[in-house]
């Protein structure tokens, strides 16, 4: 039992503040679960938001993947920190939270959203090899093809360049 605790490798799935049932359905599909287990993950934890699709919980007694879910939490960062892989919606908040914590990330774009400019961000970050970017129905494919070792660690930016220009513009001396 203790061995199992030590070898805990969690996949954390987050849909954000709304709902994204297509993503939840995709991660609990048999082929995705099989692939995750094949890659050595032991737990699948889903933050499902306002979704109406409730996955089946599983305690992993028969040696299969442990599946658990909850709707919302104020400490998403803690879940990300404990995870070995994060599968997230395309919101910039959870994308950067995950990248800053240095966790491997797969971003799944919600095709049902009308103004879907958010895939721009995921696409651009994938070009720089910081994450994988996919859609619900291609999640399995992405999982089978992905090489987590080839992802490039993201170096967080900050507001210093903006602050410098603002300060100069307003006539403040450089410090």
């Amino acid at each position: 039992m203790e061995d199992r605790e030590n070898a805990k490798r969690i996949v954390f799935v987050t849909v954000g503040t709304t709902s994204f049932d297509a993503l939840v359905k995709a991660v609990v599909s048999e082929d995705v679960k099989d692939e995750l287990q094949k890659r050595g993950f032991t737990h699948l934890l889903i933050q499902m938001g306002r979704g109406i699709f409730f996955p089946t919980k599983c305690d992993g007694a028969d040696g299969s993947l442990v599946v658990d879910y909850f709707t919302f939490s104020s400490s998403i960062a803690d879940y990300i920190r404990s995870a070995s892989l994060v599968i997230s919606h395309a919101g910039s908040g959870s994308i950067f939270e995950t990248l800053k914590l240095g966790k491997p990330l797969i971003v799944v774009v919600n095709e049902d959203l009308m103004d879907n400019h958010q895939c721009e961000l995921a696409e651009a970050l994938e070009e720089r090899k910081h994450l994988y970017y996919t859609r619900p129905h291609t999640l399995h494919q992405t999982l089978t093809k992905m090489e987590l070792e080839s992802l490039v660690q993201y170096t967080p930016g900050d507001g210093t360049p903006v602050a410098r220009i603002i300060d100069r513009f307003l006539g403040f001396p450089d410090d």
Binding site: D167, L170, G171
Partner: protein, 233 residues
């Protein structure tokens, strides 16, 4: 006959002079607008002021995180007092701004209550019908005007939510009318890689933003007046 004639003349003359006055007023206003547009984007003289009354427009989720990332590197003594505005339907953003201010205030040098938090009505909520949105838009504009008269900011920081548009337009009108000169800084969200948001596009094209920042090089190529500053996150 003669009387009628002169009456007609004087009526025409007065009409003519009223028309001339209106024309003159329009021309003067146009000149002033052009002058303000010309002055926008020109830096203030060195040592213009020790500190600026600052308005910070917050949006939801990702927008607020980016704004707080910028605020954390700005010198608080230069941007004080600070007024935070968020949409009335958005409780999270002001809460985050409050805890940010609390974390700053722990340092004894800036202990005074230098920040205020306000909510603004949105002109249109997602899914609202267009008929009722005429009324709510009027309410939103009047409310924005009231807030701007109270704050009269010298610096406006915004990064994308639609609520910043009425506030920035009013700030521009204040500049034209000589009520208050302000410097407007707009940072386009990191989520915008290839296309500006509608708010960003409006502030860029109408030259309302004094300085415009983008976080991706692709956007800077398309909009050459923007500064490319890398990711804020």
């Amino acid at each position: 006959m003669e009387e009628g004639c002169s009456c007609l003349y004087s009526r025409m003359a007065s009409r003519f002079s009223i028309g001339l006055l209106i024309l003159l007023a329009i021309v003067l206003l146009m000149v002033r607008v052009l002058y303000v547009i010309y002055r926008c984007g020109k830096p203030l003289p060195k040592g213009a002021s020790q500190s600026f009354t600052t308005l910070i427009v917050l949006g939801s989720g990702g927008h607020t995180a980016e704004m707080l990332s910028l605020l954390s590197v700005l010198r608080k003594d230069r941007f004080t007092p600070r007024f935070y505005i968020a949409a009335a339907t958005d409780n999270m953003s002001l809460q985050k701004a409050r805890s940010f201010e609390d974390s700053v205030a722990e340092k004894p040098a800036v202990k005074e209550a230098s920040s205020q938090f306000m909510q603004i009505y949105r002109s249109r909520e997602v899914g609202q019908s267009y008929v009722t949105s005429v009324w709510t838009t009027i309410v939103a504009i009047v409310h924005a005007l009231w807030l701007m008269i109270r704050i009269r900011p010298q610096v406006i920081l915004c990064n994308g939510p639609g609520t910043c548009i009425p506030l920035c337009v009013i700030a521009f009108v204040f500049k034209v009318l000589g009520i208050r000169w302000s410097s407007i800084f707009y940072v386009e969200s990191v989520a915008r890689v290839k296309k500006l948001s509608l708010s960003g596009l409006l502030l860029y094209k109408l030259r309302i933003a004094d300085q415009f920042f983008v976080q991706w090089p692709q956007l800077q190529k398309k909009y050459p007046r923007a500064h490319y500053v890398g990711c804020l996150m």
